[in-house]
């Protein structure tokens, strides 16, 4: 955007903070309309007349403002929503460096293991688990066993390491220490100390009484994570295996011990393993090492990045559509303004008859248009934000991914560009208002 600048100016530009750069761009976008406004209104006071005209045509003016606001809201909302989705999904996946699962669809595995979307996945065996867990570069490897639920909340079997990794300190209670203890996500509305029996499966197909007699006690509540795990119930993986009649993953003589190491001979299998490497670089080595015939290592971040690219492409297409909409709306508004100026043509003719300078008459129409466009743009910004906030809430409700609505510089730049261009174009109706001979309007 600023590539046309000489090299020394580019250096100067790069030396500025991002805030300064964004502020300057915003001012730069608005500059043409500010300059025109100052020139057009210099030495005159058109606003009392403009105010009177706005009031007289208040309903028509409101319609114009609403129209502009809707088109601006569309553009602003699109930018803010896409960014919110991008950030929300990225934040939800940030604790998941590397996932190892059976070969299949990367997206499906990420959706299942990270976003807890119900899916049937093949199981990884205990030998592979042990190989991963005992790897020199692995800090910990946690089985993630899903498939059960309680009142719509997924019940996930895992280890203490994963619980600590996900939540850090708990907000209430303690971590599970016994097989049939559970820790709930921050958004689960169940009291500590209460008991529940999970259903087998999720959603409409869940069998409520499949695990009858197996009651878990809630002993802790996690910190909010802004991810679907806030609506999950974490239990020891041994408990998940037990309620399915698959043993505990340990030798029978080990009793009710929880957590790794597991015995490969007694390991019932897990659909996914979360791997935490000792060092960041090791993730790449582990991915390479465990991408083989019987397993697949996935960087959820990379999968997300691909999804975001698609999302970005969709955003780009929709942005073009939003810009086209804005151009059409701006064109419609300007055409409407030309028609509207005919409504107060007699007043403009009067002003010209009593000797008002042409620039004053021009500035009345231009200021009238500028106020409508400015009000529409600011309302659109607010409307866009409110719509984004509402949509974000709905998406968060449905996906449990925390989507935060926020207005940032791109939206302000879009707004400034729209305002500047349309306000400059508003010179057309203002100029046209001067072309009509005053005498015709006086006699109309």
């Amino acid at each position: 955007m600023i590539d046309f600048l000489p090299l020394f100016m580019l250096d100067l530009w790069d030396a500025l903070s991002p805030f300064m750069q964004d502020s300057l761009l915003f001012a730069l976008y608005l500059m043409p309309c500010i300059m025109v406004g100052l020139y057009v209104s210099r030495g005159s006071r058109p606003l009392p007349l403009v105010r009177a005209m706005l009031w007289q045509f208040r309903w028509t003016s409101l319609m114009f403002v609403a129209l502009i606001a809707t088109s601006v809201a569309l553009g602003v909302g699109l930018l803010a929503q896409e960014r919110g989705l991008r950030k929300g999904t990225a934040k939800a996946a940030e604790k998941f460096d590397l996932i190892i699962a059976a070969p299949g669809s990367e997206v499906t595995n990420v959706l299942a293991a990270v976003y807890l979307q119900p899916t049937d996945l093949p199981l990884l065996d205990g030998k592979l688990y042990n190989e991963i867990a005992n790897h020199d570069h692995v800090s910990f490897a946690a089985p993630i066993a899903f498939g059960d639920s309680y009142q719509g909340a997924p019940v996930v079997g895992t280890t203490l390491d994963f619980l600590k990794h996900l939540s850090g300190d708990l907000s209430k209670g303690r971590a599970f220490e016994k097989t049939f203890e559970a820790v709930i996500g921050s958004a689960i509305d169940l009291p500590l100390g209460s008991h529940f029996t999970p259903a087998h499966g999720m959603g409409h197909t869940a069998e409520a009484d499949a695990h009858e007699g197996e009651a878990f006690q809630i002993v802790g509540r996690m910190q909010p994570t802004g991810s679907p795990w806030d609506k999950a119930i974490l239990v020891p993986v041994e408990a998940v295996w037990l309620v399915h009649g698959m043993g505990t993953g340990h030798k029978p003589q080990e009793g009710a011990r929880l957590g790794p190491p597991f015995d490969p001979d007694y390991f019932p299998g897990t659909p996914a393993i979360l791997v935490r490497a000792e060092e960041l670089w090791a993730n790449y080595a582990l991915k390479s090492e465990f991408t083989r015939k019987e397993s697949m290592a996935i960087f959820p971040g990379a999968v997300l990045s691909q999804l975001h690219t698609i999302l970005g492409d969709i955003r780009s297409v929709m942005s073009i559509m939003a810009v086209i909409t804005q151009i059409l709306v701006a064109g419609g508004v300007l055409t409407g303004l030309v028609i509207l100026t005919r409504l107060f043509a007699r007043r403009l003719a009067l002003l010209r008859a009593i000797g008002a300078p042409r620039r004053f008459v021009f500035s009345i129409v231009w200021n009238f248009a500028a106020i409508l466009i400015g009000a529409g743009a600011v309302s659109g910004l607010g409307l866009g934000f409110v719509t984004t906030a509402l949509l974000s809430n709905i998406i968060s409700e449905r996906t449990d991914i925390l989507i935060k609505a926020s207005l940032q510089w791109p939206e302000f730049h879009l707004l400034a560009g729209f305002v500047s261009i349309t306000i400059l174009l508003a010179m057309i109706p203002a100029g046209l208002a001067l072309l009509q001979p005053a005498i015709r309007d006086l006699r109309a």
Binding site: P48, M53, A353
Partner: protein, 264 residues
């Protein structure tokens, strides 16, 4: 602009000052149709002139032509206004509005003319005082106070002062036209042009307005040209011009009377 008294325009022989000289004026309309043909017309300072005639005869066209608002004009419309108030060193600057540019005509109108229209053309959403001082929107800053004072004074004189802060929407026709008069006089123009000022009023309101308007114009020694069908108004004027099919004829009795008054 300083107030101009009628005495400023009388030369040493006490002949009336010719404020307007029209020569060979032709105004054409669509398809080059001749709307108005005025071979010669002179108007003296301080005179009040009525222009009457049938609808479509060209009365308003003449008025708008004098204001430099008509299109397709030829000939000359010379307004001659004195530049100095010192009567001994008085000089006058003649301006042919036909030769002026559009912007110069606008400047001429705002400095020289006050205009009153049949249907008032007020801003309904603004109060009376704001309407009367509408020119403050574009006048130089140093003139604004004088315009404000003059508008308040005229509104008071016309009985509007107490309701000057009310919006025009609540005003009667007579009150609206008074506000329009105050607006026309706010810049203290030496010339007042009025197009059917009583046509939208009932008889009683017309009579009151005629009384007030003529009294005000005579008190301030303005030159006034009024287009009107209203005989009550026409009879109060110094001269009556009649327009028929774009041609002007003058009622000599009124002209004579007007000259006598201007010379006295």
């Amino acid at each position: 602009m300083p107030a101009m008294n009628g005495s400023d325009f009388m030369d040493e022989r006490s002949e009336p000052h010719t404020i307007l000289t029209v020569k060979d004026l032709q105004v054409r309309g669509e398809n080059d149709r001749l709307l108005l043909d005025v071979p010669q017309l002179k108007i003296f300072h301080g005179q009040t002139i009525a222009i009457k005639g049938a609808s479509g005869a060209g009365k308003s066209t003449l008025l708008f032509a004098l204001a430099g608002l008509a299109e397709h004009m030829s000939g000359s419309i010379c307004w001659s206004l004195p530049q100095a108030t010192d009567t001994k060193q008085r000089s006058s600057k003649a301006q042919d509005v036909i030769k002026l540019s559009s912007e110069a005509r606008a400047r001429f109108r705002r400095e020289t003319l006050g205009m009153i229209f049949q249907d008032f053309l007020l801003f309904e959403e603004m109060d009376a005082l704001a309407n009367a001082t509408i020119s403050n929107g574009y006048m130089p800053r140093h003139n604004k106070k004088a315009v404000q004072q003059r508008a308040e004074q005229t509104l008071r004189h016309l009985g509007i002062k107490d309701i000057a802060k009310r919006t025009i929407a609540s005003f009667s026709g007579g009150e609206r036209q008074r506000v329009a008069i105050a607006r026309a006089l706010a810049n203290d123009p030496p010339i007042l042009l009025a197009d059917e000022p009583t046509a939208s009023l009932d008889r009683k309101a017309s009579d009151h307005l005629i009384e007030d308007l003529t009294a005000l114009v005579r008190a301030q020694q303005k030159t006034m040209i009024v287009v009107s069908h209203d005989m009550s108004l026409c009879e109060k004027m110094d001269r009556i011009l009649e327009v028929t099919d774009g041609q002007i004829t003058e009622r000599n009795d009124r002209q004579k009377q007007g000259k006598e008054e201007a010379g006295s």
